[in-house]
């Protein structure tokens, strides 16, 4: 039991940052729910719901996004096979984690939902989705392009919406038989995974490993089949960028972005007759909302790679900061252009009605504004876990999440504009702080990672 408990803890919070996220999320959820149950003015009630939802997202984002990779990383070492019931314990812990997550998310959703849906229905639906996400990502992560699994998230809202509209999902969730069927299917899926997982001879470490957890070893076949790149020469500028970006990452990211663009636009073309008009706006909006932080966080990873350049390139701390800054801006600008192209393509191909003004403002400006904010939020985060730095990062994340929420629920465009303005104001302030911290950066504290890009 102790082993299972420890593994559950690890799947929930595998690093210091995720521990913080979990703690902050649980506290926010508690505050939101308690305040909602109190006798506050009715106008304030929606704010408490937002706080609770924000708390849930913060608490579960790590186990939902990373749990499957951590699970695979823990299962891969051959030493695991020497531990008595080692794999069984890991499996039970993984399943228990998803049950606990479903209880947490379903519980909060049942309390805050305006439709009065019961806990059982929420639990069953959440558990089914979590099962699909966990097992799907676990299986996908053994492949090199496993990260594309996360792109399927873009389809989920559409499928759920279609399910409610055309496939009688609401009736299914309202009946005991329907609920039981969903739970039974989820449990059977877990049993199928158990069967293949417990009898597997070898489990490969995640090939797609964007967080760097687990062992670094690769399966033998992968080692043998990996082809060497041809010999090449570098200019000084190319060499600096290669050190910062870990090789030809940018090329891969660009290919990934183009592939994603093609996939999403294909979805727009193929599903437009089956979906309600305008149903794709949340999907495109979500992608554009996520793009900014993802592009901005590249700065954080490059900052981890910058240490060797201090001696090898002769660049000073501020010069290194300038290189990182310029490179990060380029990524954010490319991403913003990509998002603009995506939104325009969607509008033309899906032939839906005109989007809400908040949506248009959000989709067009958010990738750039939030991307810029996250560049400096990441670059200022180089002094270890200091309260001020964590609060600044939390402020950036909070602003971005509230804005996402506002855009997705179609809030007044003035609210979205105000949130964007706040992000834009924050950019120069964070830059000043980041620059000051880079003047005295201590690489004993901000340690360089051996393979921070991890995507190998």
């Amino acid at each position: 039991m102790k082993g299972i408990g420890q593994t559950i803890l690890l799947l929930f919070c595998w690093s210091a940052v995720t521990r913080w996220l979990l703690a902050i999320g649980v506290v926010l959820t508690g505050v939101g729910l308690c305040a909602r149950g109190s006798a506050w003015h009715p106008v304030a009630q929606p704010i408490f719901v937002v706080i609770a939802i924000f708390g849930v997202i913060t608490a579960v984002i790590s186990p939902v996004l990373v749990g499957a990779i951590v699970f695979r990383s823990l299962s891969a070492p051959r030493a695991m096979q020497l531990i008595r019931y080692g794999r069984l314990k890991l499996f039970l812990a993984a399943m228990s984690t998803q049950v606990l997550l479903a209880v947490f998310i379903g519980g909060v959703a049942a309390v805050t939902a305006a439709t009065g849906s019961g806990f059982a229905a929420m639990f069953a639906a959440t558990f089914a989705l979590l099962t699909l996400q966990f097992i799907g990502y676990y299986l996908a992560s053994q492949g090199r392009f496993g990260g594309f699994w996360l792109l399927t998230w873009a389809l989920w809202p559409q499928l759920i919406r279609a399910g409610f509209q055309y496939w009688h999902l609401r009736e299914l969730l309202a009946s005991t038989a329907g609920l039981s069927a969903i739970v039974v299917i989820s449990v059977l899926t877990w049993l199928a995974l158990a069967l293949s997982y417990l009898t597997a001879r070898d489990i490969a470490v995640p090939h797609w490993n964007n967080i760097g957890v687990g062992t670094r070893q690769r399966s033998e076949s992968t080692l043998q089949n990996r082809k060497a790149q041809p010999e090449r020469r570098y200019t000084r500028r190319e060499a600096i960028l290669t050190v910062l970006t870990g090789g030809r990452r940018q090329q891969r990211v660009l290919i990934g972005m183009i592939m994603a663009l093609v996939v999403i636009l294909l979805v727009a073309v193929t599903m437009r007759s089956r979906l309600p008009r305008g149903a794709g706006y949340p999907l495109v909006g979500l992608i554009c909302m996520m793009a900014g932080p993802l592009a901005g966080s590249v700065a954080g990873v490059m900052a981890k790679c910058a240490k060797p350049l201090w001696l090898q390139s002769g660049l000073g701390r501020i010069e290194l900061f300038a290189v990182l800054e310029a490179r990060s801006w380029r990524v954010v600008l490319c991403t913003s252009v990509f998002c603009g192209a995506l939104a325009a393509g969607w509008l033309v191909l899906s032939a839906g009605p005109s989007p809400l003004p908040a949506w248009s403002v959000g989709v067009l400006v958010t990738p750039l504004a939030s991307g810029a904010m996250f560049i400096y939020a990441q670059l200022q985060f180089v002094r270890g876990l200091r309260v001020v730095d964590i609060l600044l990062m939390a402020l950036a994340i909070g602003l971005w999440m509230i804005e996402c929420f506002s855009v997705m629920v179609g809030a007044d465009s003035s609210v979205v504009t105000a949130l964007l303005a706040a992000q834009i104001i924050l950019v120069p302030l964070l830059r000043v702080l980041a620059l000051r911290r880079w003047e005295n950066i201590d690489w004993l504290i901000h340690k360089g990672a051996r393979n921070p890009w991890g995507l190998t």
Binding site: R226, A228, Q229, R233, T242, L444
Partner: protein, 292 residues
């Protein structure tokens, strides 16, 4: 008098509430090979990283080539080669590409030297770095630090992953490099036999402070084991200055002392009314005694 290449004065480092280094005052003259030893967590890596400007000192100062370590100009950085404890190679590149990359960063690159060392150390260059063994990675990492012919070579546990043959080759090469070009080498290690083989200066770090710094010969001369055989019962604690450890049993005793000189022997024999045998200690024994 030769200007020191590396010098520190009252150097201290504190991270949070943890004191990692305190009051380090050291100097390295050109052409020397300095070995640094200490237990895990003694502060070896921290000391090297502060000397190279990766980290600011909390107190005191550290200078390299007469410049403040934390603000080294590019010209000075080009005269330094560094092999970190955990290599900073890029996994997706081949060894050849990694060397080309570092060569492009430095500008000056002695390709002939690297080719010779590559052959001697048997470093595979056409395989991607991710597929190299720990020892091969370490050798490649060392090559990246040698190509620009640095005047000061800093190595943080450079032989930890090498097999005995590779270690010998590596150390032989290190001696040759310093002998030919009057280069200076600063390296930390846990393998004391290597230190005895190549180092002419030694720094022993204990709990963040320097327990000993100086020529290896004088360390071995000044720390000795005394075997005391008295004519009458000895006191429970022997009156020995610089005593690291002692064991007394009746008329017999054994003690390890520092700052030993021949003049002390006669005086001690008279004080204790005993025959005293003096035995020099190996570096490993000295290290253990200093930490006991």
């Amino acid at each position: 008098m030769t200007e020191p290449l590396v010098s520190t004065r009252g150097l201290g480092k504190t991270i949070g509430r943890k004191v990692i280094l305190r009051d380090i005052a050291l100097e390295v003259t050109p052409g020397s090979i300095v070995g640094i030893i200490g237990k895990n967590g003694a502060g070896k890596t921290t000391l090297l990283e502060i000397l190279l400007g990766f980290s600011p000192a909390s107190s005191g100062s550290a200078q390299l080539f007469g410049h403040d370590s934390f603000a080294l100009p590019a010209t000075i950085k080009g005269r330094i080669g560094f092999v970190p404890q955990q290599d900073e190679l890029i996994n997706l590149l081949t060894g050849q590409q990694q060397l080309a990359l570092v060569a492009a960063l430095h500008g000056h690159w002695n390709a002939a030297l690297i080719e010779r060392l590559r052959k001697t150390w048997e470093v595979p260059m056409d395989r991607i770095i991710q597929n190299l063994s720990g020892g091969e990675r370490q050798k490649l990492s060392t090559l990246t630090a040698l190509g620009h012919e640095p005047e000061l070579l800093v190595l943080d546990e450079p032989v930890a992953s090498l097999d005995p043959i590779s270690r010998r080759r590596f150390l032989r090469e290190m001696i040759e490099i310093t002998a030919e070009r009057t280069r200076t080498v600063l390296f930390s290690t846990h393998i004391i036999s290597d230190l005895e083989r190549v180092a002419d200066q030694i720094w022993i770090l204990r709990d963040g402070a320097i327990a000993w710094a100086g020529p290896l010969d004088s360390l071995q001369e000044s720390v000795v084991r005394l075997s005391v055989n008295a004519r009458r019962s000895l006191p429970s604690v022997l009156p020995l200055a610089g005593c690291l450890s002692q064991r007394v049993a009746g008329e017999r005793a054994s003690a390890v002392v520092t700052q030993w000189t021949g003049q002390r022997l006669a005086q001690l024999q008279e004080t204790l009314d005993a025959e005293i045998a003096v035995e020099p200690l190996g570096l490993e024994d000295i290290f253990v005694e200093l930490h006991s």
